[in-house]
Amino acid sequence: MTDRPFSDHEFEQFLGQDKLMGSRCAACGALFVPPRSICPRCYGAEMEWAEMKGTGTLTAFTCIAIGPSFMADEGYDRENPYCTGVVELEEKVRVVARIEGVDTRNPEGISIGTPVTARFLHRRGDRGDRTFLAFEPLSRCDRRG
């Protein structure tokens, strides 16, 4: 794993294996998700892979009625909006991701601060398979577990 470059390509490869991975600066310890190869804090260039637990809280979101064609192809439209947002991970870094399992027809009912857990959406496409990072609210039994 240590030989893999800290690139978006490798980040996506990991998503395909249901892993949410970032990079940690060997010099100053700063954590980045998706990974960076250069630390913007101390300019250190030595990084280590770090796997995230995949849990966090919803920090901000939107429910989109008119999306790009790849979302329209999944059946989303004005009548069936999708949610996407910013999640702060337990490790105190943020990621942007799709938000699943919320009622997008009643966005007033979606709460910032909701605990969420990662899901990996595997999609087949003309140009190869891709995995999209998503989060969904933790169910009560997940929270107990």
Binding site: T62, I64, S69, T84
Partner: protein, 421 residues
């Protein structure tokens, strides 16, 4: 980082012109820019010979995508007769022509050129709304695009963060829209020269004429709260929170300060220039502020030796209603979290203590992306020279105005302060 910057040679604006903004089936970028150029030439009080223009800097975001044609700097240079003088394109998404201004200023300040034409153009309306949305998303951060964010989606997300942090609501976004639409009927070049009340009354009149059920909207807020009149685009943002798809062009003539009075007795001087860069949503520490704007403002205020209280009025980049609230806080006009209260109290109206977007803003004037930066500066030019007609900021004592542009989802920001002496 905190160095105070200055120009090696002062630079003045001696002419400005812009096309009408709107959706024009029968006009391309050459036609639009030629309109702007003709008006610019006519605006130079003592006249100018276009043969004296040394170079062109042209802002254009992505006509490559919108009309399948790139390299507009040379095409425009040819269209207005500047060939073989140098023509350079600048790209900073929605701030593209604000960057053209900077490059033009630097070229004159260095002593290399004496007279530079700066401008911008975009031709967006020939594509479908979905295609335009995809074209604009080219300026977002790749992670955002993959997560399904659109431009309205990014700003909708910012809005939820702002609401959560400061207790604002959709009602406060509506106040921004209503204010901008109240200025728009006073701007003959605006794409939507109409107030929200007029739009509302027009719809009621049409329903009556057609014998359809007559809507019972009591006021503008009631109208904007009705999802049939104002559908969600990227909740909490609705149609009337978003700027339109527009075609348009604008340009300005810059000269070395010492030459300015040979072209006009009333030039404007560039006293503050700032630019910053920013990062994506996931990497921002706080979603309710743009790091790039704060950097740009700091640089421009430092150069001018001025503070936010000295800016008498401003154009800010209201691509979405929420953006105007964030910008008026980032530029220091109001404290963080106080912007929405200031708008509610009317402070940003044409007759308020800090008029914002007297042109109607991107929301009503239109937002031909590559032309927007220069068009904002043209509004400052008209206001400072007391030539803004019915929308002239009252009081008659204008000396300092400023324009703020934001590129993409905060990746580029500029702030430019102009002075009339």
């Amino acid at each position: 980082m905190n160095k105070t910057r200055k120009l090696g040679r002062g630079v003045a604006i001696v002419g400005a012109g812009m096309s009408d903004f709107g959706m024009f089936e029968d006009k391309d970028s050459k036609d639009l820019f030629a309109d702007a150029f003709r008006q610019m030439l006519a605006s130079v009080d003592k006249g100018v010979d276009p043969r004296d223009i040394d170079a062109l800097y042209l802002g254009n975001f992505t006509n490559d995508f919108f009309v399948g044609q790139s390299h507009w700097s040379a095409i425009i240079s040819d269209a207005i007769g500047l060939v073989p003088r140098p023509a350079t394109r600048t790209e900073g998404a929605c701030a593209s022509s604000a960057l053209a201004l900077r490059e033009g200023v630097f070229a004159i300040a260095s002593g290399f050129y004496d007279m530079v034409l700066i401008g911008g153009v975009e031709d967006m309306s020939k594509r479908s709304t979905r295609e335009v949305a995809e074209g604009l998303a080219l300026a977002a951060v790749p992670y955002e695009r993959k997560s399904g964010f659109t431009f309205p989606g990014v700003f909708g997300t910012i809005a939820t963060a702002y609401f959560e942090k400061y207790g604002a609501s959709r009602r406060h976004l509506m106040n921004v829209t209503i204010k901008s639409h109240n200025n728009a009927p006073l701007n003959p070049k605006a794409q939507y020269c109409v107030s929200i009340r007029d739009i509302m009354n027009d719809k009621i009149g049409r329903a009556r004429a057609e014998g359809a059920p007559i809507p019972d909207w009591s006021d503008e807020v009631d109208f904007l709260s009705d999802p049939r009149a104002n559908p969600a685009i990227a909740w909490p943002l609705h149609l009337f929170d978003c700027c339109p798809i527009s075609d348009g062009a604008g340009c300005m003539l810059l000269v070395g300060e010492e030459m300015a009075k040979s072209f006009t007795d009333d030039p404007l001087y560039i006293v503050g220039l700032g630019q910053g860069s920013g990062r994506g949503l996931h990497a921002a520490e706080d979603l309710t502020t743009f790091e790039a704007t704060r950097a740009a403002a700091g640089e421009a205020y430092g150069m001018a030796g001025l503070g936010p209280e000295d800016i008498q009025f401003a154009e800010v980049h209201d691509c979405f209603s929420i953006a105007e609230l964030i910008h008026i806080e980032d530029l220091g006009f109001f404290e963080p979290g106080e912007g929405y209260r200031a708008v509610e109290e009317g402070l940003t109206r044409l007759d308020g203590s800090k008029p914002i977007n007297t042109s109607g803003g991107l929301k009503c004037k239109g937002h031909p992306v590559g032309a927007t930066g220069v068009a904002q500066l043209i509004e400052i030019w008209q206001q400072l020279r007391q030539s803004a007609g019915e929308r002239q900021v009252p009081g008659g004592n204008l000396r300092i105005g400023a324009a703020h542009s934001l590129g993409g989802t905060g990746g580029t920001s500029t702030f430019t302060i102009l002075e009339r002496r």
